[in-house]
C-alpha cells in the first residue's frame, strides 16, 4: 500500500485485503478525521435549521463510540461513513480538477498526486481541510433526505447502532431498515437513470 492513497482507494484496498493491521491504520486515521470534522461542525455558524444539530449529534455520538473503540467495519456494505468519505473526496477532486482547468497550475498543488491527478492524503494524517469538507458534506447529505424517518435512520446508523437496534427503536421491521439504508445510499450517491 503506498502512502499516497486516496480514501476511496484505501477503503477498497482494505475491503479487498483482510489485514487487521490495515483496519488499525484506518481506525487511527478515522478517529482523527472524525474528531477534526466534529470540531469544524461545532465552530460553524448555526443557521437555525435542525439538520445541523442532527449532523452534530451524529458526530458527537459517533465520536463517543470511536472513543470506546467502536469503528465502522470496512466490510459493512451499509456503512454510511465510507459513503460519506467517498462522496466528499470525489467532490474535492472534482473541485480541484475544475480549478485546475481554470488555473492550469493545479499539478503544482501539493495535495494532488501529479501522476494520477488524484487527491491524496498526506501520510496517514487526515487533512483538516478535508475534515471540514466531510462535516459540510454530511450536513448537505442529511438535508437531502426529505423524510424525517430516513434522516433518523441515517443518523442512528452513523452513530454506530446496528440495524436491529434501529429497527427496535423505530418499531419497524428489519427489512425496512435494510431497504431504507439502500435508499439512503442511492439518494446520497444521486444515481438515477430514469
Amino acid at each position: 500500500m503506498s502512502d499516497a492513497a486516496s480514501v476511496t482507494i484505501w477503503i477498497d484496498q482494505l475491503r479487498a485485503g483482510d489485514s487487521r493491521a490495515a483496519q488499525k491504520l484506518w481506525e487511527g486515521y478515522f478517529h482523527r478525521l472524525v474528531s477534526l470534522a466534529r470540531g469544524k461542525l461545532r465552530s460553524m455558524p448555526r443557521r437555525g435549521a435542525d439538520e445541523e444539530d442532527v449532523a452534530l449529534s451524529a458526530f458527537d455520538s459517533f465520536f463517543r463510540g470511536v472513543e470506546q473503540g467502536r469503528f465502522p467495519q470496512l466490510d459493512d456494505r451499509d456503512d454510511l461513513w465510507q459513503i460519506l468519505l467517498m462522496i466528499t473526496e470525489r467532490k474535492a477532486f472534482d473541485l480541484l480538477e475544475h480549478e485546475g482547468r481554470q488555473k492550469r497550475d493545479w499539478r503544482r498543488n501539493q495535495s494532488t498526486d501529479a501522476s494520477s491527478g488524484k487527491l491524496v492524503l498526506a501520510g496517514r494524517e487526515p487533512d483538516p481541510a478535508f475534515a471540514a469538507q466531510v462535516a459540510e458534506e454530511c450536513e448537505k447529505l442529511l438535508t437531502k433526505l426529505a423524510d424525517a424517518n430516513l434522516r433518523l435512520i441515517a443518523v442512528r446508523k452513523m452513530e454506530g447502532y446496528t440495524n436491529n437496534e434501529i429497527a427496535k427503536e423505530l418499531g419497524c421491521s428489519l427489512v425496512t431498515i435494510e431497504r431504507r439504508l439502500r435508499l439512503i445510499r442511492l439518494e446520497w450517491e444521486g444515481r438515477d437513470s430514469d
Partner: protein, 563 residues
C-alpha cells in the same frame, strides 16, 4: 445478486412498502396483491421481494405460520425467488444471544447452538446432531439474501463434491438436506481458528510454514485424485484444529473435473483475487486445473512467510491485473529471514504458466519435505537452465498459434513436396535457373493461398502479432527472389544457391521464434544444418529439408492445434 434499481424506482418501492407496513402496524391485515399496483420488470420483482419479507414478518408477529409453499402458489411467476426471500435466517448479525437464537432456522434433527460465521454464500452454525449427539457445523444458504438458482446449485455442488472426500486434513461432510426449501449440509466441526486469523497474530517460521503447506498439499493431492479442484484456497479456508493440524474447508467454488455437464460458468471470475491463479484471473475456465490450487498454496505459503499475499492492488480489478501481468516480489524482499530454498519453492508455485509450476500437489509436498530435511530442493536446481528456458519459453500467443496451426501444417506439406522436387532437380544436375524459379513460385502461391483460405479470407488479421507474421513472410519472399536474381546474374551455379535459401529460411524462422517462442528456433537450427549439408553436397540439404525440417514444422502445427 439483485440488479440495483434506479433512485426513482427505489423511491417508489420504498413508498409502497412504507404504506404497506403502516397498515400492518395499524392492525390491519392487508394483502401484497393489493399493493403491487402496475409496477413491472425488475421494479416489480424488488417490490414483491420487500412486500413478501414484510408480510411474512408481520404474520409471524401475529402468531401465524406462513409457509413457503403458500407464497409459491400465490406468486407462481416467482417460485424460485421466494425461497431466497423467505426470512428463515437473519441477514444482519444479531446483538443478544436470545435475539439471535430466535432467528435461527429450525432444522429437523439438529439443535443450533451458535452462529460461527457468514460468507457471501451462506451462514455456518454450530449445531448438535441430536441422534448422534455430536457437534457439527451446519452450513446453510443465507436466506433473504441475494440468492438465485445459480447460488443454490453452487451450494449443492460444494456439498456433493466435498461429500465424496474422506481425508484427515479435509473437513468431513456428513449429511446434505433441505429445510424450508433451502439446502443445507452438516459437516465436521473444527474448534480452533483458521490460517487467516493465525497469520495476523504473527508470521510463521520457515519450518512451521513448510510443514503446514506440506500437509495441505498432500490433502490437495488426494482431492485432485478424486477429480476435484478447490479453486478458492486461501488462509481463511484452511482451518486449524487446536492441535495445530490444518483442515481444508469451503469447497464453495470446487470444480468437479469428472462432471462435464457444463455446470461450470465459463468466463465468470470466481475466487479471491489475491490467491487466484492467472489462468483463473483471466476467466479461462477450461484451463483451470489442479495447477490453480498449487498456485494458491504458493500464495498462502507466501503470506505465511511475509504476512501479505503476493499481489494486492487498489481494488479487486487492480489485483487481478497484477496477478496476470506482474511477477511477484520475492518473499525475501519482505522478510529477509526466509530461506532461499523455501523462497524458490514458493516462487515456483507462483509461476504464471501452469506448466512452470509443480506438476502435482504431491511434487510440491515432496519438495517441501526435502526442504524440511535440509536437502537441496528441486525448485532451486538448474537455475542456469531454467533461465535459458525462461528466455526461450513459448510466448503467450498460444491462441494465435492455435489459429495458425492449420496454416503451418499446410506450409510444411508444401515445403515437403517442393524440397523433394528441388532435391531431384539438383540430383539430375539441372543447371537452368528456370525450373527452380517455377518451384519457388508454386510454393509461394500455394503458401499464400493456404494462408488466405484458412486465415485471411474473413478480413484482414486483427491481432498485431498476426500482422507481424505476415510481414516477416512477405519480406522473406521478396528477399528470396531478389537474392536469387542477383546470384544468377553473378553467373554462379544454381546448386550454390540452395544453402543461401536455407539460411534465409533460418532467419525467417528465427524472427518468428523471437515473436512466438522457442520451438521456432529449432526450425531455424534445422535450416542451418540443411545449409551446411547443401554446402557439402548439392541436394543433400534440400533432402534434409524434406525429411526432417518439414516434418518438424508439421509437428509444430499439430502440437499447437491440440493446445
Amino acid at each position: 445478486m439483485n440488479d440495483p434499481l434506479s433512485l426513482s424506482a427505489e423511491r417508489r418501492v420504498d413508498e409502497v412498502c412504507v404504506r404497506f407496513e403502516s397498515a400492518w402496524q395499524a392492525g390491519q391485515v392487508v394483502k401484497i396483491e393489493e399493493y403491487l399496483g402496475d409496477a413491472s420488470g425488475p421494479e416489480r420483482t424488488a417490490l414483491l421481494r420487500e412486500l413478501v419479507r414484510l408480510e411474512v414478518e408481520y404474520r409471524i408477529r401475529r402468531g401465524e405460520q406462513p409457509t413457503i409453499e403458500e407464497y409459491r402458489s400465490r406468486f407462481p411467476t416467482h417460485v424460485d425467488s421466494i425461497s431466497c426471500w423467505y426470512p428463515s435466517a437473519p441477514t444482519i448479525g444479531c446483538d443478544s444471544p436470545a435475539e439471535a437464537a430466535s432467528s435461527w432456522p429450525d432444522v429437523p434433527g439438529y439443535e443450533i447452538v451458535a452462529e460461527l460465521g457468514r460468507g457471501a454464500m451462506g451462514v455456518v452454525y454450530k449445531a448438535r446432531h441430536l441422534k448422534f449427539d455430536r457437534i457439527v457445523a451446519l452450513k446453510m444458504i443465507l436466506a433473504a439474501s441475494h440468492c438465485s438458482i445459480d447460488h443454490i446449485q453452487r451450494f449443492l455442488a460444494e456439498a456433493r463434491a466435498v461429500a465424496r472426500l474422506t481425508h484427515p486434513n479435509i473437513v468431513q461432510i456428513y449429511e446434505i438436506g433441505e429445510c424450508n426449501g433451502l439446502p443445507y449440509f452438516s459437516m465436521e466441526y473444527v474448534p480452533g481458528s483458521n490460517l487467516a486469523a493465525w497469520v495476523k497474530e504473527s508470521l510463521l517460521s520457515d519450518m512451521e510454514a513448510a510443514q503446514l503447506i506440506e500437509v495441505v498439499a498432500r490433502a490437495m493431492h488426494y482431492t485432485h485424485g478424486q477429480h476435484i479442484v478447490h479453486r478458492d484456497l486461501k488462509p481463511a479456508n484452511i482451518l486449524r484444529t487446536q492441535g495445530g493440524l490444518p483442515k481444508v474447508a469451503d469447497f464453495g467454488l470446487a470444480k468437479d473435473l469428472s462432471d462435464d455437464s457444463g455446470g461450470t460458468r465459463t468466463g465468470a471470475i470466481l475466487g479471491t483475487p489475491s490467491y487466484m491463479a492467472p489462468e483463473q484471473a483471466t476467466g479461462k475456465a477450461n484451463e483451470i486445473g489442479p495447477s490453480a490450487d498449487i498456485y494458491a498454496m504458493g500464495a498462502i505459503l507466501y503470506e505465511l512467510l511475509t504476512g501479505r499475499p503476493p499481489f494486492r492492488g487498489a481494488g479487486a480489478l487492480e489485483t487481478l491485473r497484477l496477478v496476470v501481468e506482474q511477477p511477484p516480489q520475492p518473499p525475501r524482499a519482505f522478510n529477509a529471514r526466509v530461506d532461499r530454498a523455501l523462497e524458490a519453492i514458493c516462487l515456483k508455485c507462483l509461476q504464471k504458466a501452469p506448466a512452470d509450476r509443480y506438476p502435482t500437489a504431491d511434487a510440491l509436498a515432496d519438495d517441501l519435505a526435502t526442504f524440511l530435511h535440509g536437502e537441496s530442493v528441486q525448485a532451486q536446481s538448474g537455475s542456469a537452465t531454467r533461465f535459458i528456458a525462461a528466455v526461450f519459453r513459448e510466448s503467450r500467443y498460444t491462441a494465435v498459434m492455435r489459429l495458425w496451426s492449420g496454416v503451418w501444417m499446410g506450409l510444411a506439406v508444401n515445403a515437403f513436396f517442393i524440397c523433394l522436387t528441388q532435391a531431384l532437380l539438383l540430383w539430375y544436375q539441372v543447371q537452368d535457373y528456370t525450373p527452380y524459379y517455377v518451384t519457388w513460385l508454386v510454393k509461394m502461391f500455394a503458401d499464400w493461398g493456404l494462408a488466405y483460405f484458412l486465415r485471411i479470407r474473413g478480413g484482414p488479421p486483427a491481432l498485431p502479432v498476426e500482422r507481424q507474421l505476415l510481414q516477416i513472410w512477405m519480406f522473406f519472399w521478396a528477399n528470396h527472389f531478389v537474392t536469387a536474381w542477383l546470384y544468377q546474374r553473378s553467373g554462379a551455379p544454381v546448386a550454390g544457391f540452395t544453402p543461401i535459401t536455407e539460411m534465409l529460411t533460418a532467419l525467417t524462422f528465427a524472427a518468428m521464434g523471437a515473436i512466438l517462442g522457442g520451438s521456432f528456433y529449432v526450425s531455424a537450427a534445422l535450416c542451418v544444418v540443411g545449409a551446411m549439408l547443401s554446402a557439402q553436397r548439392p541436394g543433400a540439404g534440400t533432402l534434409f529439408g524434406a525429411v526432417v525440417t518439414s516434418p518438424y514444422f508439421f509437428y509444430l502445427g499439430w502440437r499447437h492445434r491440440r493446445l
